[in-house]
Symmetry: C2
Subunit: 138 residues, 2 copies
DNA sequence: GATATATGCTTGACTAAACAAGCAATTATT
DNA sequence: AATAATTGCTTGTTTAGTCAAGCATATATC
């Protein structure tokens, strides 16, 4: 009666829940949440370590207001800095600060450890295949 | 620099986010959220269509209080019913009502449709493999 | 060049969930 | 039998997000 596609959705979301929970608890050592880590991650990926808030929201799959709310405390503890865009006064750029960069690098170690632990049941080949499938669906 | 395990976690959670969002919007036609669907799903799976709240919480990966809060409105609109356990007055059983069953069956059609649409980029074989990997990790 | 429309961001109000604390009933210890 | 510990559930409080509305700036149209 139950179909494989539906089962997949259910298992997939269960897994995600578990992964985030685990990673979150590992990252808490560095004083950041999974969502905050993701912000630092995308900023670090950006060539100038700077992004527009709306692009950040897009990448995170979040609303613009959600990003505003998340960034406020991160600015307060100087993980990121606000910059203005001289060409367009509407946009307010977010920049990864030096502190933020350091925290991100530290947190990345924990993140990778956690990631390895969470996926150790798969062989490198299986993991590679799975990442491929996952990326295809995103 | 970036490792495949970490990339996998990131892609996996991105995907999950997308899946839930899509399924949620499809289910809204039936007046229920993804989480509520999951409750109905687990109740439907149970042989007596009845579960203890704490077991439900366990299956959903939620806290007991979260379940209490979710069930309150569902009881109000009669999707589920509260039953007492004659052997243990501490537990309050949750039962899938007839209405709940009907809604669940209707919603399942939408759910399966959405699931198929969301996974159509994978061949049946790929999907089967992926479900296998996912289940292994949960 | 004036006005309409679109874009980026923030704020207010709300919702879903978590955590911690507490109550009530059960089970274990003595 | 009395007390302690555990279990199941609920409630108060807090946090992370959403959506809708609004403000400021930029772009397009006439």
């Amino acid at each position: 009666m139950s179909e494989i596609e539906a089962d997949f959705i259910i298992q997939q979301t269960r897994l995600s829940h578990k992964l985030i929970k685990k990673v979150d608890s590992q990252l808490s050592v560095h004083g950041i949440s999974f969502s905050e880590y993701m912000i630092l991650y995308y900023l670090d990926c950006a060539p100038t370590k700077t992004m527009r808030r709306i692009d950040l929201a897009e990448m995170l799959g979040m609303s613009a207001s959600g990003v505003t709310r998340m960034l406020a405390p991160m600015e307060k503890i100087k993980l990121v800095e606000k910059e203005v865009n001289p060409r367009d006064a509407r946009v307010s750029l977010v920049k990864l600060s030096d502190v933020g960069n350091t925290i991100y690098n530290d947190a990345s170690v924990s993140f990778k450890h956690a990631a390895k632990a969470l996926t150790h049941k798969l062989t490198p080949d299986q993991l590679k295949k799975m990442l491929g499938f996952t990326s295809q669906l995103v």
